[in-house]
Subunit: 283 residues, 2 copies
């Protein structure tokens, strides 16, 4: 099976599902959008994101060569058995969820004739919904593919083709390593952004001028605090152990910083290290 | 004295001083740039940021109606008596430093015939230097003016005119309140960004894939960690008490977050509050 001949069903027509549908236009035979609400399904056709749409996941899955689940993670985990039950033997089940261990475990429990690969495109915006969907969202982004115990070469090849068709760069990674890494570079930044907003809110109660002085630095550092709550809540609840370990690591780094604050030379060195390490990440 | 008739000397030709010079072009009689290095002084003339330049602060100050100090805060504090000694009676001394208590205290110690107002435009970029200077940097930004014990109505009026000429929105605020507020919305975000980078660096040592998964969320949350070290170090060292209080506040918020993580309903509420409070700040 090649992507160009495939009928792709995308379940969840928000930012991620909608953007994938737009990015796959003309690159597969047919894209069917599966909305969780009738209005969402209708709108996806109206704006030209999909060729057709339905609210009936089982019906769409029964005719699809590839089914991509693009809802919040806990919904993906709950939907995997329902989708797999309706799918044809040899069809590929994928997802776009932001944590991967629970997804991969659920995929390993579906009938053996269903192919399955977990996926996580490392892109997004804080504004969700089909209105924010964008056919360039995946362009240049790392698209993590997490094999399950039974993932075949054929399944991985087709998933890779889909990721590349959307403009992303596939990276095969096991679910455990994925979940540990995103706890550091994605879930911890969200939690710090939101905690910083809570700290500002406390200060603002004491002196409203605090808000008037918030400029671009505060805006960027707290951007993730405006993330969609439904999506982010599922992420945190399905990666709690890794998030907790990373919070412990962060608190140790925080203690190092407070120690450095007492000594100008140590502080300068600590600041220069942070500057250099960030240049390493975004070289 | 009106700004249009004034000779303005700007000491420090980096991002802030250079941008102010560019923004004041055509809005005062003459802008003289005072470089700390001969190359910087020459370059400011070459790129058309200033009408003339020198490395001799005393000479420039002696002929100026307004002297603006635009170097890191500890250098500003050290330079205030030197500039004031050379200035003409009735001339106005200002600065663009990011903390204000030590600046205002130093300004209150100069001869009484010198006018003085502290200033802090709430704008910037992480890249410093004249190459990053931009005549639109101040546009729409809040420009805090901190009166000293002796600031006259005339001094405040001229400082206000200068801030407005640069495109900024003047906000008169006492130095104590300013320093407390920026500790929350500026210095704390910097310290969290840099601490997050240190935590990522630790994780990266254990698994280099961490870096590969860093995307736009990590980029934005850590942007301030790339701030100029010289500038930021002076800020932290001249606002250590306020920064320490804000770190205590943040750690209390962090403990609230960790408690919420244990309970899905409490976590959702905590996340929704963060989202709403951020919408308040950037309405």
């Amino acid at each position: 099976m090649r992507l160009s001949e495939a009928t792709v069903a995308i379940y969840g027509l928000g930012l991620m599902g909608g953007s994938l549908a737009l990015a796959l236009r003309g690159k597969c035979r047919h894209v069917v959008g599966v909305g969780r609400r009738p209005e969402a399904a209708r709108k996806a056709v109206d704006v030209g994101a999909v060729d057709s749409s339905t609210c009936n996941l089982a019906a769409a899955a029964a005719h699809a060569d590839i089914v991509v689940l693009a809802t919040p993670v806990r919904d993906i985990v709950a939907t995997i058995p329902l989708a797999a039950e309706a799918m044809r033997p040899g069809a590929l089940l994928m997802d776009l969820g932001s944590t991967k261990r629970e997804v991969v475990a659920a995929m390993d429990s579906v009938p053996h004739e269903i192919l399955a690969v977990g996926g996580h495109p490392m892109c997004g915006k804080e504004a969700g919904g089909l209105d924010s969907a964008d056919d360039t969202l995946f362009r240049g982004a790392t698209f993590v593919l997490t094999p399950t115990a039974r993932t075949t070469g054929e399944a991985l090849a087709l998933a890779t083709e889909l990721a590349e068709a959307a403009g992303a760069c596939p990276l095969v990674l096991d679910a455990e390593r994925h979940d540990r890494a995103v706890a550091v570079v994605s879930h911890l930044p969200y939690l710090l952004a939101a905690t910083l907003v809570h700290a500002e809110a406390q200060s603002h109660l004491q002196d409203p001028v605090v808000q008037a002085l918030a400029a671009t630095g505060f805006r960027d550092t707290t951007r993730l605090a405006s993330s969609q709550v439904d999506m982010m809540l599922d992420i945190l609840l399905t990666n709690r152990d890794a998030v907790t370990r990373v919070l412990n690591l962060f608190e140790a780094s925080l203690a190092d910083m407070r120690a450095a604050l007492r000594d100008p030379q140590a502080l300068r060195k600590w600041m220069e290290q942070a500057q250099a390490e960030r240049a390493r990440v975004f070289a």
